[in-house]
Point group: C2
Chain length 342, copies 2
DNA sequence: TCATTTTTTGCAACCGATTGCATGAAATAA
DNA sequence: TTATTTCATGCAATCGGTTGCAAAAAATGA
């Protein structure tokens, strides 16, 4: 285990002061070009690497951005993370990633960890059952930039990066109505969360616009798992009123439902038309291909990270922006196309 | 922006020395229970949080483990990461995650970043075109623990956590042969990577065992994307010899192929039987459900992280272990079941 | 009561880089 | 040649915990 080289070693070896070495390595103006070259060469030669702790300690900055997501292993989240990582990495920032596993309690603990790790900023998509944002108080008090993405919190004064979920829900539902659906059920997640609440609002708006009465029992508030899909399909089968349209706020769950419906003899889209949400790659490869609402995950991650970094570098103040709404639109595929394409 | 509380503030406020405060907060034996309680209470009251830089600087330890994966947004990788995160978090470690985006060059730069961030250990699944492990030299020289998982490097002296890919390939192929397949093609990734090379070896072993000649043109070395699937299906269609079995080393690509084959009129599994790899959740929800080889992603992540942490805590020396092979087995579903179930 | 052992606490150096201020050297002006 | 300005470098304090060693305090024994 070779000894770690410090600026003092370089300084000694060159018979100059550590201050000069430090400045040279940081490309400070006050150091002459010659000296800089000399020091850089020596540093290289000796295998020097900067000690970030010392530097962080002094500068009170970590060059690390924290990210809290509900789960790492979801297509959407890992795509968003991929986008964030790309941007952060290019800008010389690191990402400290944790998952709340949809638990409010774990989220609180994650926030604490992030706080103690002194991340320069924090980006969060909240858990299923998060209540309020008292647990972010420490960040807000210390003025550490905080960005919410995808799942946000009402009345948060922070920057929120979202898609227009109302429009998404509206488009999907309107499309189903246009295809002739008369009785559309809506399978969604915890309505406490903006993404689901808004999509339902869109659903309701579309119904209203088409003069279709809204029925509470057509809303299935689930955890969007395979199991949830199974139950929904059971309900469809046992329903007295004929159900001819399904709008699921998650592609995976939608595909699950389609599979079961098919097995039970329903023809899709003829008997029942289905629309999902997110544009998961799997929507294209199944049969029938699933109509869905495109969700710009990678872009969302990139924009979140970019906003954070710009803010940290003083190029932009996220304090002045409340929402950034990304474009997302309905993609019509076979699972809902009843009318001939013209 | 409130001022940061330090142990000196606590010390002053209690009229004791910072050393005592430090020891008390770290639960050092030498401090009396009374004093400890007093200090803890005061720390809580004043809203103290430890400064990790100062601590890291002194202790030369970051409590952070680096992870480099080819891509964040793949089902398998994000599942492995989820497992790692869980274990690391419970043990008080943080994860610094980067992606190489399958580029050797980016991987080299990632390793540098990790090195400069002074992670306590590094866990890597190498990129598509990684050559050798010279770029890990810095870690090896400094004796910083290094673990490879999933995609490993030949002849690496480090701990490798893998599944038995040969067996996986063998099981899948043998199963297809048992179902009566006479001419099985194998769609795989870069054969430079152990996972793909080994699976092909298993494929060859099974063929040999059944006296089926191995044909080089039955191997499709691809990037396993949708596009690759498309090309493979084209080839199947144009092939002179009838192809009646497909073994794809990736579920997503397998599903893509199935979809296209179905569209082209092939009946699965009657005309062509298909087996995938990884046991992606999507394998269960499509029709026909896809036979596949179970890949214990979460477990792999958990075991990798656990090994790393045990090593760091001195409970175990990964220097003595070369391989940990996790159990993985064939899951037979509809896409390959030609014989009646008994 | 005094000596000895054990338990608590404090002193002060240290980890390595950064930076305000001061100084010395070189360049320019007078 | 001397005074003034500009440029380059160094000094020394600082960031906030940690820890070996010593000293003080408390507990025990004689």
């Amino acid at each position: 285990m070779s000894k770690e080289i410090t600026i003092y070693d370089i300084a000694n070896s060159l018979k100059i002061s550590p201050a000069t070495v430090s400045r040279a390595l940081n490309n400070h103006d006050a150091i002459s070009t010659n000296t800089k070259a000399l020091i850089h060469a020596k540093a290289e030669e000796m295998g020097y690497r900067s000690n970030k702790f010392a530097s962080n300690l002094r500068k009170q900055k970590t060059n690390t951005i924290g990210v809290i997501v509900p789960r790492l292993n979801s297509t959407l989240m890992s795509t968003i993370l991929a986008g964030m990582e790309k941007v952060a990495n290019e800008a010389g920032y690191n990402l400290l990633i944790t998952q709340s596993l949809e638990s409010f309690k774990k989220e609180i603990s994650n926030v604490k960890t992030m706080f103690n790790s002194r991340v320069d900023g924090l980006m969060v998509s909240v858990s299923y059952d998060t209540e309020g944002y008292e647990h972010f108080r420490s960040f807000i008090d210390k003025n550490i930039p905080l960005i919410f993405f995808d799942r946000t919190l009402d009345k948060s004064e922070c920057l929120n990066i979202v898609i227009d979920n109302i429009k998404g829900g509206y488009d999907a539902t309107k499309h189903l109505l246009e295809q002739g659906c008369k009785n559309i059920i809506h399978v969604t997640g915890n309505l406490k969360r903006n993404v689901y609440a808004d999509r339902m609002r869109g659903y309701q708006q579309a119904l209203a616009e088409f003069g279709v009465p809204f029925k509470q029992h057509n809303i299935f508030e689930t955890d969007l798992t395979t199991e949830a899909g199974r139950k929904v399909v059971q309900a469809i089968k046992l329903s007295e009123e004929k159900i001819d349209g399904v709008f699921v706020t998650n592609d995976f769950c939608a595909v699950t439902c389609m599979g079961m419906l098919k097995k039970m003899g329903y023809s899709i889209p003829k008997d029942i038309a289905v629309v999902g949400f997110n544009n998961d790659p799997l929507t294209e490869i199944i049969t029938p291909s699933l109509s869905t609402v495109y969700y710009p995950g990678k872009e969302m991650g990139e924009i979140a990270a970019k906003s954070m970094i710009n803010h940290l570098n003083g190029l932009m103040d996220i304090g002045h922006t409340n929402y950034i709404v990304l474009k997302s639109e309905l993609i019509v595929r076979d699972s809902s196309s009843r009318l001939p394409k013209n």
